[in-house]
């Protein structure tokens, strides 16, 4: 409660610099059940191009399920997901990635069998020659583009503050660095929309502020961001728009100020009687 109201931003603190564009993502009547239990029910909302759009809600509200539905990891039981004007409901994640959607994970999904730099280079997959024969015989064009990808990956690592881990094996890196490595890898695919699932979870205050700055920089470069995060200070500070979920349904939406003042949201977080 105190977190929500204390961080209610004044109008000049809200990021008004970016202009809300036409919707990049439209979720229509989306639902998903697991063995009769409704994880997401009849959920509709839109995300404007260029926005930082946060999804909040108590544990078990369905935030990660929503991410998995939008990015194709789960198939919806009902409803539609429209991305960039096309119905992409139930499409495989790699196809959505080709359309310009990428994400990070709440529980780290790092390629621990590779170096940090190689992790980010995998993010360049869609922009490289991934055929078998050019790889087997090292076609010069493949080698050249691969070398460019290496430089680009190194630049992205620098952008998220991981320069010192350029040569490191991923399995030797600390947790906070791996969180940022996931963001760098997702950015390497040049997404139009980036979904971040609790990027600040488990980080200390300093690391949280660094992630916060990274997200703002990415958004400023024109990438639409959907953010799931429990750190309300971060959410209220950087979001343009917030959708609040509870028990898989939409509880409230609006600007951070509107959502923070919404009595239903306050009740859901505090468990107050209606």
């Amino acid at each position: 409660m105190t977190m929500l109201t204390a961080q209610k931003p004044s109008s000049d603190a809200a990021p008004v610099a970016r202009r809300a564009g036409p919707p990049l993502l439209r979720v229509e009547n989306l639902s998903r059940e697991f063995g009769g239990v409704l994880a997401i029910g009849d959920l509709s909302f839109t995300v404007a191009a260029g926005d930082i759009h946060s999804i909040i809600g108590p544990n078990g509200a369905g935030k990660t399920t929503l991410f998995n539905l939008v990015t194709g990891v789960y198939k919806p039981s009902g409803g539609r997901v429209l991305f960039d004007g096309a119905d992409v409901s139930g499409q495989a994640p790699y196809k959505l990635a080709a359309r310009g959607m990428s994400r990070s994970f709440q529980n780290l999904q790092i390629f621990f069998n590779m170096t940090a730099l190689e992790n980010v280079m995998v993010g360049r997959h869609l922009h490289l020659d991934t055929r078998l024969l050019p790889a087997l015989f090292r076609f010069p064009s493949l080698v050249r583009k691969d070398s460019e990808a290496r430089d680009r990956a190194a630049q992205l690592m620098a952008d998220v503050g991981l320069s010192r881990y350029l040569g490191a094996d991923a399995d030797s890196m600390p947790y906070g660095a791996l969180k940022r490595l996931e963001i760098a890898r997702a950015l390497a695919s040049e997404p139009k929309m980036l979904l971040l699932d609790e990027p600040a979870a488990g980080l200390n205050a300093t690391e949280s502020r660094e992630i916060d700055a990274v997200i703002k920089t990415v958004a400023a470069s024109g990438v639409t961001i959907i953010l799931v995060e429990h750190d309300m200070k971060m959410v209220m500070g950087i979001s343009d728009h917030i959708t609040a979920l509870n028990h898989g349904r939409k509880l409230a939406e609006g600007t951070p100020a509107e959502v923070a003042a919404n009595p239903d949201v306050i009740a859901a977080y505090l468990g107050a009687a209606p």
């Binding site: 994640p93 790699y94 069998n113 590779m114 280079m121 997959h125 991934t130 090292r138 493949l142 997702a186």
Partner: protein, 315 residues
């Protein structure tokens, strides 16, 4: 970039030097024969390592693909009079199509389904080879004619040593190239985290199928050439125990290490020769090696040894 390039070329140079110098020490045909067998196993293991070590998928039927290649050459050349090179290619194409047909539906699933399916293929191949005695000679095996190409007949251990040496060198070179490429990274990413690979655009099912087909074709080509070298092939070369032996070589030598696969193949080919007293217990010894490797050096021999070096760089 330079370091990786450097590492690849250094390793290749060392391998080339060993292959070139080794005949000096192989003073009789028995030694040469063992070296040739090690070479054939190494070719199969380098391919199998792409699947197991890099892409993280298990095949328990690679001896089946080796056997299909061997018998394709034996039957097509011996019974139907095909030129050996045409038989070799036909065997490789057939194995490629078979591997694709099996892997395509299976690899969409996660988990150990591929291991089970390949186990099934290996057993079916072995049964067919034993029972179709009209073509294959049944359990006793069949004689295979020598390899002839452009009127030249490959004959004798000395000639075959160089054939296998060059083949191994080329296969290692191709494997190293593949791993240090976008497709190679995609394969390793599949091993690391399938869902993370997918969300940056990697069609994981497609790459799993491709590497499975590629490794099966490597085994088939090695099988064809082996059949011509040995002159006699038996279904035992295609059975389940041979498949396990190949997996053990890869795991023992070092998963996700091309040179490790070579070392594993060489060591485990030599070992039975050195420990002939254990002949009756070969499967037990093999099983014990597999278990000990998993417990004491899960990364395998070569990566574990490399870990002790001051300038640590994986092979």
């Amino acid at each position: 970039m330079n370091r990786i390039l450097h590492g690849r070329l250094t390793g290749l140079a060392v391998l080339g030097a060993i292959i070139a110098v080794l005949p000096v020490f192989l003073t009789n045909n028995f030694y040469l024969d063992v070296a040739i067998l090690a070479g054939f196993n190494a070719v199969v293991c380098v391919g199998l390592n792409l699947l197991i070590g890099y892409a993280g998928q298990i095949s328990l039927g690679h001896a089946g693909f080796f056997g299909i290649g061997a018998y394709a050459s034996g039957v097509l050349v011996g019974v139907y009079g095909w030129p050996p090179i045409a038989a070799l290619l036909a065997g490789a194409v057939f194995v490629g199509v078979l591997a694709f047909a099996v892997a395509k539906p299976i690899l969409r699933l996660k988990g150990h389904y591929l291991a089970m399916a390949t186990l099934g293929i290996g057993i079916i191949v072995s049964i067919v080879l034993r029972t179709e005695s009209g073509l294959t000679g049944g359990p006793d095996g069949m004689m295979v004619e020598p390899f002839k190409i452009f009127g030249v007949e490959l004959y004798g251990e000395k000639v075959w040593y160089w054939v296998v040496g060059v083949l191994l060198f080329v296969v290692v070179w191709l494997s190293l190239n593949l791993i240090d490429s976008p497709m190679g990274r995609a394969l390793r990413a599949v091993h690391g985290s399938e869902v993370a690979a997918e969300v940056v655009g990697v069609d994981t099912a497609r790459f799993k199928v491709m590497v499975f087909v590629l490794s099966a074709v490597f085994a088939s080509v090695a099988g064809s050439l082996f059949a011509h070298y040995a002159g006699l092939i038996t279904p035992a070369k295609a059975d389940f125990f041979k498949s396990i032996e190949l997996v053990t070589m890869v795991v023992f030598g070092g998963m996700a290490s091309t040179f490790g696969a070579v070392v594993g193949a060489v060591v485990l080919t030599l070992l039975p020769q050195a420990l002939t007293v254990f002949q009756d217990y070969q499967q037990i010894v093999l099983g014990a090696i597999l278990m000990a490797t998993m417990v004491f050096m899960p990364k395998g021999l070569l990566p574990t040894l490399a870990g002790f070096l001051p300038s640590r760089r994986r092979a």
